[in-house]
Symmetry: C2
Subunit: 470 residues, 2 copies
């Protein structure tokens, strides 16, 4: 029996597939102002899980949350020349407030970097105040000409970390710790997206940074998505904002600062890294609903009782579970459930139940297993672990098979049409970078030959990843 | 030995005391744009605890979180005439974005009510989509002429709930459920602020509401603070935004909607309800740090080991604990610790330790108890419960002793100079309300004679609370 696709197949039109999944899985809608988005309850529940997991890791790394204002005096942005240049075409500006024209226009924060710099300067006096490790969860605004839900929206939600240290070594070590223990650990072990960890080439660095680290994930269409970045800012930022401390010996010196961020963009990455032609696929550790218990027939006492007891058993084992009562056709209900990407479905039907079993269905592979009712919790718990591991393994296999080692720029351009190309970094001159850009390609990151993260782009023997990107 | 006050005494100048506590306990700073605030890590940690506790209750009541855009087209606000009138002097307006003058100005949300209304209209088709129970955690902007940190800031953080129902009864029951099971339960049992639960007089209702419920707390200066409100909007809002559903019988009808909110204002309420001349006093269930373990002497191995073992024991019992290592004078450290209002301090000193004991000091009463090291966890855990109960009892006693039953408007005006006056509601005509306003007093809420919440302001035998307020 052929069923109509509820979403456009990936192979037919990947961007259309993405739009369909975002809409039909009820993740998000376009907002009334161009480029803004409404994050619907299911999309927001996934974001809340991301926030909880990232926040826990940030706190474990010793940073404290704070909140800085949405509004920034326009003059603040001018303090860091490179900063204002980078952001000014993207700014939203408030010129009227409280019924009056403002004397100085106010900018809606594109990041809180400048305000945080001002307050760091105020709060830091001596080496005893260092390191100062701050993080903020907030909305930011960057006017977007070609918006796309989650991936590029004029307003997005994110966290931005900002830290100040007494030495370059401390700052560098902390930024690397955040990058690996917060971002890469979360992306790999929760979102099940294996990333290429590396540093950006100088041309792609954040304005004012001495080094930018990135986690580059591969989406199912072979394009790269930058999923989180961390910056070492040296003393550049501290000098612009006069962030100074007195050393033990009583000498004044500028701090070394870092900044690092991740955003609702990761939701887009989740969709494109695991989704398939039936919709979303959410890894169990991230999923707001890990198991959906489906009453195959409504109003059947035996089915209702079995569902209730399975739900209770799963909740008692700390599994996040939802119940889907019968309404509408079985096929239609399965389609809706698959769209949402819940990792595991337990079908509780009267005929199976008469034989003491229920049907466990994996969302990722579609594999079905009949399991005695008494074993559901044990089997489901184990299957969730298996699904988590299998999703990471499948994504890693995909990434590696679509990453081609090449020897020339021409080969890189060819390979990057469908995946990543890995090329020796010393072959990529500024002119070559320009040529790549002409082909809609960029150097996503630099890595050592063993795949580890370099200290600096001038290290010998580095390779680089070249790809199309979001 | 007389020590200088680190904060202005409450009896001398209560507003100055408030400012001092906010600054010296490192709760918040003024932001660079007038009326905005920087919430510092300690203030934000308290807000995070509030968010966690309120959010848990909201989810238990069945509402789902979502996120709506910061920016609202100006035309949206015009849809609800009363709405635009209520908010327009407080709006911040974006006229330039992406480097260009905008064709239609954009408003920074003063609430998301109008956008949420638009999307509810889109998402609701049939009675099967009801009730639709949404909540949002977000920042909102209302331009503030006389700003005050936490209490009145141009930008503040809050949650706003918006729900749509098929019947007036359902809507009313849900709003009352939120008001009692979320707000009043949280304020009473976590923040330890006993509130007067009641409905607002028609003159103080939210624009467009058919009924507004409030939780009024008494601050230590005898003034009232409205700590959370819930609104029944009847069909007014649904008609303005065309929120329509098809009944089971296939007929079209407008929904009944509710909205309800609580904000960072509650942090101001916490400060003023429990704080004293030594600083903040935070109830244990709310406190980010419930117990501070203080190493009286730095670098003493026995002290260090005892501190570490006490911290570990408390953590293992799920107590939120911090360690204060010796730096600076003992007196100065105690002053700083008291400013922050941690409920319980464990002083670990070498002399006490030689006798196998440590000193437990309650922040609320100053009471000290020498406790064998082996008993610290048990004693501290029990003391935290006692402190929580005692803070609520003390606040209740204060509120009740400062609430005077009066028979005339003149007596009400006199009594409301230092506390709350309770007067028969039928004595308060619109003219009397004007007279009260002339004395800087308002009717805070209406209650039944037994203190319960009325259904309607026209019920017979209601009393009202008259007070000064924030």
């Amino acid at each position: 029996m052929a069923t109509a696709n509820v979403v456009t197949p990936q192979s037919e039109d990947f961007p259309k597939w993405y739009q369909d999944v975002v809409a039909k899985a009820e993740m998000a809608d376009n907002g009334p102002v161009r480029g803004t988005m409404v994050i619907r309850p299911y999309g927001y529940a996934i974001w809340e899980r991301m926030v909880a997991e990232v926040d826990r890791r940030i706190k474990r790394a010793g940073a404290q949350n704070a909140y800085f204002p949405l509004f920034i005096p326009q003059s603040y942005l001018a303090k860091e020349a490179e900063h204002v240049e980078g952001f000014s075409p993207e700014l939203a500006v408030v010129t009227v407030a409280g019924g009056e024209e403002l004397a100085e226009p106010i900018v809606v924060r594109p990041t809180s970097e400048t305000v945080i710099g001002e307050y760091m300067a105020k709060w830091i006096q001596s080496h005893r105040d260092l390191p100062l490790l701050l993080n903020q969860w907030a909305n930011v605004v960057r006017w977007e000409m070609r918006p796309r839900l989650f991936l590029r929206s004029s307003e997005f939600l994110w966290q931005e970390g900002h830290t100040a240290h007494a030495s370059a070594e401390d700052a560098s070590a902390y930024a690397r710790r955040i990058h690996t223990e917060v971002y890469n650990d979360f992306l790999t072990n929760v979102v099940a997206v294996p990333t290429f960890l590396g540093i950006k080439p100088p041309s792609e660095r954040f304005a004012g940074a001495t080094n930018t680290m990135t986690c580059e994930g591969m989406m199912k269409d072979g394009k790269a998505l930058q999923m989180a970045t961390s910056h070492e800012l040296g003393q550049n930022f501290a000098k612009a904002f006069d962030i100074v401390f007195q050393s033990d010996a009583g000498e004044s010196a500028h701090c070394y600062t870092t900044s690092w961020g991740s955003s609702t963009r990761m939701v887009g990455g989740l969709i494109m890294a695991h989704g398939d032609d039936r919709g979303l696929v959410v890894p169990p550790r991230l999923a707001p609903t890990q198991v959906i218990v489906m009453a195959v027939r409504d109003g059947d006492d035996a089915v209702d009782a079995a569902c209730a007891s399975i739900v209770e058993g799963l909740l008692a084992s700390d599994v996040r579970v939802s119940l889907d009562r019968g309404r509408g056709s079985f096929g239609r209900r399965v389609t809706d459930i698959e769209l949402k990407g819940y990792p595991l479905r337990v079908e509780v039907g009267p005929r199976d139940l008469a034989e003491g079993v229920v049907n466990l269905v994996r969302r990722d592979t579609g594999e079905k297993t009949l399991v005695p009712v008494a074993d559901v919790v044990t089997t489901a718990t184990a299957l969730l672990e298996t699904i988590q591991a299998d999703l990471l393994a499948a994504a890693t296999q995909r990434r590696d098979s679509q990453t081609v080692e090449v020897a020339t720029v021409e080969e890189a351009i060819a390979a990057a049409q469908t995946g990543f190309a890995r090329l020796a970094w010393d072959l990529v001159t500024p002119e070559i970078e320009k040529q790549l850009k002409g082909e809609a390609l960029t150097v996503r990151c630099l890595q050592r030959a063993d795949g580890s993260m370099p200290d600096h782009e001038k290290e010998a023997g580095l390779t680089c990843i070249i790809a199309k990107s979001y």
